[in-house]
Symmetry: C3
Subunit: 294 residues, 3 copies
Amino acid sequence: MGRRYETVSLLTDYGVADEFVGVVKSVIRDLAPHATLLDLTHGIRPYDVRAGSLALARAIPYVPEGIVVAVVDPGVGTARRAVAVEVADGAGVLVGPDNGLLAPAVAITGGATRAVELTNLEYQLEAPGATFAGRDVFAPAAAHLCNGVDLAELGPAVDPTLLMPGMVPLPRMESDGIHAEVLWVDRFGNCQLNIGPDELDEGIAGPRPDTVAVRIGDQQRAARLATAFAELPSGMLGLVLDSHGMLALALDQRSAAAELSLAQGDPVIVAGLDEQETGAALGGVTSPVELRRP
Amino acid sequence: MGRRYETVSLLTDYGVADEFVGVVKSVIRDLAPHATLLDLTHGIRPYDVRAGSLALARAIPYVPEGIVVAVVDPGVGTARRAVAVEVADGAGVLVGPDNGLLAPAVAITGGATRAVELTNLEYQLEAPGATFAGRDVFAPAAAHLCNGVDLAELGPAVDPTLLMPGMVPLPRMESDGIHAEVLWVDRFGNCQLNIGPDELDEGIAGPRPDTVAVRIGDQQRAARLATAFAELPSGMLGLVLDSHGMLALALDQRSAAAELSLAQGDPVIVAGLDEQETGAALGGVTSPVELRRP
Amino acid sequence: MGRRYETVSLLTDYGVADEFVGVVKSVIRDLAPHATLLDLTHGIRPYDVRAGSLALARAIPYVPEGIVVAVVDPGVGTARRAVAVEVADGAGVLVGPDNGLLAPAVAITGGATRAVELTNLEYQLEAPGATFAGRDVFAPAAAHLCNGVDLAELGPAVDPTLLMPGMVPLPRMESDGIHAEVLWVDRFGNCQLNIGPDELDEGIAGPRPDTVAVRIGDQQRAARLATAFAELPSGMLGLVLDSHGMLALALDQRSAAAELSLAQGDPVIVAGLDEQETGAALGGVTSPVELRRP
């Protein structure tokens, strides 16, 4: 027997309008009644593997020891593998599809120490039709791991270096500024970019300014650097060091996403005020930099 | 004292925007602190007893032993009875309104072994105004059952054969095909029909074809029979044996409901390609069968 | 060591689309694995402190002994204090921002017996950027309280009488009727007003009538007094003594909010039929009182 686990944390794109999540939990509760279930979120946009991987990466430093079941699985029923990935010498096991969803979280926890493909039918449920992987494969795997079944029992070992890598986009440093992307729009309309403080310093020459230029399509706006949403005067756009240590476009008590018509995946250029003007003059569409909303 | 229970599984149309579900759980937790609460779903459309009964029926084979509280209750405050229905010789008790909501799940678990009407005020909460049945009647009943109160204490016995039956519609076999109905549109836009493989074989003459005709209003489409969503070429409509063993209209990684403008309750005719053409020629509006999207 | 607690009940405006709630729960589970987590709701409209305070007030009579974490916190990062408020001589502790959110619930439980400001960094998490108060301050406070850390350890005492009061609006008795307000529109479209039975008797002269006049903007409608939604004939507007002992505008099995175009915060005048006619004649816009929908 292997180590037993007490907690199963769940992240899916199943939503809560249907009973999908309830059935996954039912299977785990039935097989491993001692385990506590913890919902990370089930609100990932359907099939959006990257958004799921980012949400899991943001959460994982806080997730308690135990099992994580993560399912955003557009390739269910194809040749994509179902896997369980052990991290931190067994302090945790991440269970889900091998499509990049787990990769950033695995990296953050220090990398995989073991991995297996979930092929042992003895530890799966039989489906009355198409496989519902969350219910039939991932939930039973999580429950059996909680019960002390060793990872190696669930299927053949997989070389962790051959797991599908994650899909986190890197910003590009160009002559007209940092070409970034909106990673995540949260409930409050804050738009997290794929830029941390180091990239900001790298991409903008000289000492860190108080205000930067932000270009979105042919809109151009000034954004104040801040370390708390509430530092922003009413209506002033901010580039805030958010609670994950990334930079986010934000307005105090209002939705920056609505104000700027920004959605996940949209490109954003961040530059020093001078550089941006130069860049724009060199070939871009220009518009006055607004320090305040009109 | 009767048997004690460890799990209370919940299914309602309360949504999660209000604190309704939280209050129901609070009452149970307060009265029976040892019980674990498990949400099946709270996203049933308000007052949609049939949708609730179908979701409960899909979930019930996986629900752990214990109590189920199910509340979709348009008749709250009227003469409709509040009941507790014991199944599987006491392995489970379903608690809710006697309006058909529980009936399919009770049938799937083998039928009621006992039932009572929840009229004993000693096991209810007093409301400051109108009765909130989930909070004042069903939650306390569930908690007291968990604590070992016998079903018979909660109120007078009800003849299980006199409980309100369920409302699952049956398909009709007609000369132009199987007249079916959309039972459920899930988060991914898959449209589950009230047809299983047996009805398909019964309704379509000859050996089971690879492709069938599907008529929705005056649209006509070809649908490929499949056992996994991912078997479908991009844009190809499928009639997939879903994870509950029912046939569902589906597209790979896209919403069939959006593509076909289908909603729960909509009629759908499924036929062999030849039959359907004949049927259409006999009187229907016809349109070319598209094997692929244009 | 102080008293230990077994339950942490949660109410926030975080929604469930992001992993915010999951991370808060992860922190509590990690620090206090014995505690059970109970979601009251996370569907409070972003930044709507009053709506959050009302939902918490409706729930609090049912919440089990233990810790409550409530977060609707537009002022996060400003000088607003983070507090923990002990009630009922330690039977419960409410943790959250000192912005009025907790006040009505504290009052309902009999008032604060102790309060502290959460400033002891030893019982907080360090944030990689801006403080995420739910994760970094409130969740650890709740967990440490569960573990028996005394309230006084979490920070300096605060005089409970100096906590921010709540913001529950009172109805006004005017010559043309009771000037009330929609406190809450629930999932079913019922519109709870800030009027209880006593205010109704006070504001409408003579014995309590069967039917009252309700004025919303320049619409005027008759509403039948009822003690259950199902008492209302189809399409008849009711003023129902709801399950919290407040009066709510309601229709049987339909949304009164949709029918009357009412939203939270909207003004509503309730009057005797005669008074209302007089009031209207004195200066208001008049329209026929409809006893039934046309």
